[in-house]
Amino acid sequence: MPIEKIDPKLCTGCGKCVDSCPMDVIRFDEEANRAYAKYREDCIACYNCEQDCPAKAIYVSPQRGRPVTPAW
């Protein structure tokens, strides 16, 4: 999966990554006061969340979740 982790130890609960996601992948856990990748399978690896995270808590892998195998 492209979005591999939001490190709970590093996440400060600022919620920026929730707003950053164009695919509605990330949701906010009010009780734990941190963001988590609820719908990882829908991540398209745009890297918005990783780039916007001030705590550097997010890692997005360049491996796409839905490979369409190229012809070569």
Binding site: D24, D42, V60
Partner: protein, 531 residues
């Protein structure tokens, strides 16, 4: 009301607010971080005062767009680009200045403008945004001027009262709440159509604009033309920012374009692969790394689609009360191939402004909509239908099948009647069999369900329009019709819903846009396809 809060939708809403409209901007994501425009770094910028030659710029669009570019729109884009750029600066969006720093050039001062990194873009110049967060600045500007924003609301369909569009319905993708929004005029600026495909990270436009417009009776134009983009199969996280140069070599190490093409050559890369000489390799213009040679991946791009809702220069569609702008629209400004970098953002700025203005002028005179509660209840049932089913096909299954049907290069890039027909057969099956039995498990999945429903309809439009055009032109290549057919196809393909069927027809491109038809074929069309 504006549907879609990207670069274009924000500009439409801000313009409407300037004219004292009561404006609501709705987006399925967070306005300020959503849309293809969020990722764009360039804005095409023309100004005669800086010595730009209007005819030379127009000529580039005509030649690369292969004489089906609507020059009335191209000219409007060029002529209004400076005013829109000044708006952006005055609203607080910095640009890269002549000295290379980010800032706010005073009126009349030329910002840094460059040619795109390709040999064939010889005339048009682009300016560079001085911030990544330009859309957040637009969000702030809209809110400060009194406009309202609803984030995370998925608009599924337009509301109609007789022939007129009078609002839209949708739901909140987080809590599932239903929305029925009445509006005197609606601007649809919710982007183009790609398929969440993997090779290119910004392919999230799911055709919401064209699909909701079609279902409301709008005409669509040029749905067969698309932009293809190559992306290097890079190994690190900057993968999506790496664009290939036009110098490419095939698997045998041959520079098959002879040192870079004079014209957009993506289709030739694919034809090299088609001939069994792939993979192909290129060096990149990367943001974070320079000059990396990697195998290329090709995709129907998510950054810009030429086709869309047909509209006039006031951005009015054929449906009263419905306006289109940005990538949702089919302006034909660039014809059959994407002729200039930064021009899609220029289109968004110019049409956003025009649509915001026209919709406001209409709304200020229009009667207040009145929609019977029974009609709203019917719409509500349709919105939640996938959520109500207790069993059925997953949204993931339907999406995967759609992607597997339309994304392979041999379907919508290197095309043939038989393969297009086969893809249409499958898409019809998804439409008639999967969609009515598709199940969503929560509001997020309901969003996926509506998106894939729109993709199925959009795919049908693309495929039928492609089958209809029996020639090749620009980026549009038919293996079974490899030649341009100037006699029969200096035309645009238009389509709309007619008694439950998709009806297609052609409309002639005005003669004054045809270029010099007496020119020999090879000279008129420097991009040579194999025959």
């Amino acid at each position: 009301m504006v549907v879609g809060g990207g670069f274009c939708g924000c500009i439409a809403a801000i313009r409407a607010k300037e004219l004292n409209a009561d404006v609501l901007l709705v987006d399925k994501n967070f306005v300020g971080k959503t849309s293809g425009g969020y990722f764009a770094g360039d804005l095409m910028l023309f100004n005669e005062d800086w010595g730009d030659d209007l005819n030379a710029w127009l000529e580039q669009f005509s030649r690369i767009g292969e004489y089906v570019a609507d020059r009335s729109w191209t000219e409007l884009l060029l002529k209004e680009s400076y005013s829109r750029y000044r708006d952006l600066v005055s609203w607080g969006i910095p640009f890269i200045k002549m000295d290379g720093t980010s800032g706010f050039p005073p009126p009349g001062e030329e910002p840094k403008r460059i040619l795109g990194p390709s040999k064939y873009r010889k005339t048009t110049l682009i300016s560079k945004f001085g911030t990544k967060y330009k859309l957040l600045i637009l969000r702030k500007k809209l809110l400060e001027s009194g406009g309202k924003i609803r984030d995370r609301v998925v608009i599924t369909d337009l509301l109609k009262q007789g022939e007129r569009v009078v609002g839209a319905v949708g739901f909140n993708t987080v809590n599932g709440d239903f929305y029925a929004i009445k509006a005197k005029a609606v601007v649809v600026a919710a982007g183009g159509l790609s398929f969440k495909g993997t090779p290119y990270a910004t392919q999230f436009d799911t055709g919401d604009s064209v699909a909701m417009g079609y279902r409301a009776g709008a005409e669509l134009i040029s749905m067969e033309f698309g932009q293809y983009a190559g992306r290097l199969r890079a190994k690190d996280a900057s993968g999506h920012t790496l664009f290939p140069t036009s110098i490419v070599i095939n698997a045998k190490g041959e520079d098959f374009l002879g040192g870079g093409a004079e014209i957009p050559s993506y289709i030739l890369w694919l034809l090299e692969v088609h001939a069994g000489r792939g993979p192909i390799y290129s060096e990149s213009y990367g943001v974070e790394r320079e000059k990396i040679k990697e195998a290329l991946n090709m995709a129907l791009t998510g950054t810009f689609w030429m086709g869309g809702l047909r509209f006039n220069t006031k951005c009015e569609t054929n449906v009263p009360g419905l306006y289109a702008a940005g990538d949702a629209s089919g302006s034909n400004f660039t014809g059959a191939a994407y002729a200039a970098l930064g021009s899609a953002m220029c289109l968004s700025a110019v049409t956003g402004y025009r649509a915001g203005q026209s919709a406001t002028e209409f709304a200020l005179k229009a009667e207040k909509p009145s929609i019977p509660e029974s009609e709203v209840a019917k719409c509500k049932d349709a919105v939640y239908a996938p959520l109500m089913r207790e069993s059925g096909f997953t949204t993931d299954h339907v999406l995967t099948r759609v992607q597997q049907t339309i994304l392979p290069y041999e379907v919508r890039m290197v095309m043939h009647e038989k393969r297009l027909q086969a893809a249409i057969t499958m898409i019809e099956f998804y439409r008639d069999h999967f969609l009515p039995k598709m199940r969503a498990v929560d509001p997020h999945d309901l969003r996926n369900a509506h998106e894939v429903r729109n993709m199925v309809l959009g795919a049908e439009m693309m495929l039928r329009a492609a089958l209809f055009r029996t020639e090749s032109r620009g980026s549009f290549y038919r293996e079974d019709y490899p030649r341009r057919d100037d006699e029969n196809w200096l035309k645009w393909v238009v389509l709309k819903e007619d008694a439950g069927k998709m009806k297609l027809w052609t409309e002639p491109v005005p003669k004054e846009y045809w270029g010099d038809t007496s020119m020999p074929y090879g000279k008129r069309y420097p991009l040579q396809y194999p025959e």
